[in-house]
């Protein structure tokens, strides 16, 4: 053992906001590539110069205290912020190489490519079948009733819900349990063959069993989709994601492999947050 073996590690960055994001924001073959993104709500600067790549077949968690901008940034990825008055987005977000803020982009088809699952399950007040069939129908993804039925079955199977609902597809989606409703919403998202799935605290209203099922689903879906999940549960971020990004006061402080972030964060702000210390 020589002393030189222990000279190379750097000390943790101190508790001041960094000038630039710590860790690797760039990945090989990104599916999502955000550069210098700023978001304003009127005068409020909600997102401050964030750049981040997200790879295909990758699960990334966004973590940070309330109001840090993680959900705002998530909603930029399928232009959900367009629906908010006075919201202005600057910078560039490319998905598969195309800027999604290009005026020529069809926002409806963008939101099919970049699906979203919300904190509270929000099934349509329709049957289980119609909940899944709605998206493929309006996007013209099925040319026949048989094909539509096939999409519904496949989507429910992928969401791990088929066995539980196959005998009551005509019953209201709102009659399912909270966990089942959330998986129904995930199945509804999958039904339109998205490339990216955004999840905004998808398990915060679920019990541990329903949470485990959704997390297992995320694990199974990761091969096929890029998944971005906002969560307030550190354990959930540690369990489900390949990479973790820590947001603070509208900035992206740090991003890295999940194991690194949770065992050896590079920035003290990250460490204070994930370990529950006073900031």
């Amino acid at each position: 053992m020589s002393n030189s073996m222990v000279e190379t590690a750097s000390q943790i960055e101190r508790r001041v906001m960094p000038d630039k994001t710590l860790g690797q924001i760039v990945v090989d073959n990104p599916r999502v590539s955000a550069r210098n993104v700023d978001v304003f709500y009127g005068d409020k600067h909600a997102i401050d110069d964030i750049s981040l790549d997200i790879g295909a077949s990758q699960v990334i968690s966004f973590i940070g205290p309330s109001g840090c901008g993680k959900s705002t940034f998530l909603r930029c990825l399928n232009r959900m912020n367009d629906t908010i008055d006075k919201c202005r987005v600057e910078g560039e977000i490319n998905i598969d190489g195309r800027n999604i803020y290009d005026p020529l982009i069809d926002v409806v088809s963008l939101r099919a490519r970049v699906g979203m699952v919300f904190q509270k399950a929000n099934p349509f007040p329709k049957s289980i079948f119609d909940n899944i069939a709605y998206g493929p129908t309006i996007h013209g993804l099925a040319s026949s009733k048989v094909e539509l039925e096939q999409i519904v079955e496949t989507s429910l199977q992928r969401a791990g819900l088929w066995e539980e609902v196959k005998d009551r597809l005509d019953q209201p989606g709102t009659g399912l349990s909270g966990g089942q409703q959330q998986r129904l919403c995930i199945a509804r998202t999958i039904a339109v063959s998205p490339e990216v799935i955004l999840m905004d605290e998808p398990c915060s209203a679920l019990d541990p069993i329903a949470t485990a099922k959704v997390e297992e689903l995320i694990h199974e879906l990761r091969e096929q989709y890029t998944i971005v999940i906002v969560t307030h549960s550190m354990q959930q971020a540690a369990r489900v994601s390949d990479r973790t990004a820590y947001f603070h006061l509208g900035k992206l402080v740090e991003v890295g492999d999940t194991k690194q972030v949770f065992t050896n964060p590079k920035h003290e702000l990250t460490q204070d947050y994930i370990t529950g210390r006073f900031g």
């Binding site: 053992m1 020589s2 002393n3 073996m5 222990v6 190379t8 590690a9 750097s10 000390q11 550190m234 354990q235 540690a238 949770f262 065992t263 050896n264 964060p265 990250t270 460490q271 204070d272 994930i274 370990t275 529950g276 210390r277 006073f278």
Partner: protein, 235 residues
């Protein structure tokens, strides 16, 4: 809480802070018991007064009890707090230091027992060499515990240098002891005991070095054991 980096005690949960503080105090107390074993042995080498070794078995039992108590604390912290980042490294580090301290306790109990059989006077064969090793190892242990208490990176690194010193003294002692055996084969039985004592003390020094490695892991999150096994970890 006095010495350990105050950052460890800034959790919003005061109960978590208290639990980590108790953990830290407990491991230092266990380290103190092991240090007392070493000091007793050293005192015996210097004075040849066997009464200084009277408490060594009782101390060994206390060390074993401390191991069980600390393992229980570690288990409880993992279950209740799910520590991460620097907290995780502290808890993992402590769980490993416990094992090393317990083994040091075993080695020093052996040192005490064999010393009573081997060193009947201040002039006994090998006692000078053993005293030199024990003195260096005592410094290593003391520094390892201080490095843990203060999370002192520089001090932890110095222990590797001291380990090299101990290795030199140990090798030199073995050569001297071999000479004693060659010179008078009647010494072989006694000298072999002294070799075992030297070996145990050298092992105690290795365990102190392990503690220094864990302290570096706690501070920097890098695993410096076994260089070359996983080069990424020392980047």
């Amino acid at each position: 809480m006095t010495e350990l980096n105050d950052d460890f005690f800034r959790h919003i949960s005061s109960e978590f802070n208290d639990e980590l503080d108790v953990l830290r105090r407990s491991i230092l107390e266990m380290g103190g018991l092991v240090e007392a074993q070493l000091v007793s042995a050293l005192s015996f080498f210097k004075t040849n007064n066997s009464s200084v070794l009277d408490g060594i078995e009782e101390n060994e039992r206390k060390i074993n009890a401390a191991e069980i108590d600390l393992d229980d604390q570690v288990e409880s912290l993992i279950v209740r707090r799910q520590p991460i980042a620097s907290d995780l490294r502290l808890v993992l580090g402590v769980s490993k230091i416990v094992r090393d301290l317990e083994r040091m306790g075993d080695e020093l109990e052996k040192v005490g027992r064999l010393s009573l059989d081997s060193f009947s006077s201040r002039d006994s064969v090998g006692i000078t060499e053993i005293e030199r090793i024990a003195e260096q190892v005592r410094k290593m242990l003391s520094e390892a515990l201080t490095a843990f208490a203060r999370l002192d990176l520089d001090l932890a690194k110095e222990i590797f240098e001291r380990e090299r010193e101990v290795d030199k003294i140990y090798q030199s002692a073995l050569r001297a002891l071999a000479t004693f055996m060659i010179e008078d084969p009647r010494n072989i039985g006694t000298v072999l005991n002294v070799v075992w004592i030297a070996r145990s003390l050298e092992r105690v020094g290795d365990h102190a070095t392990n503690i220094a490695e864990y302290v570096i892991y706690m501070i920097q999150g890098v695993d410096i054991r076994h260089p070359g096994v996983n080069q990424n970890k020392v980047d």
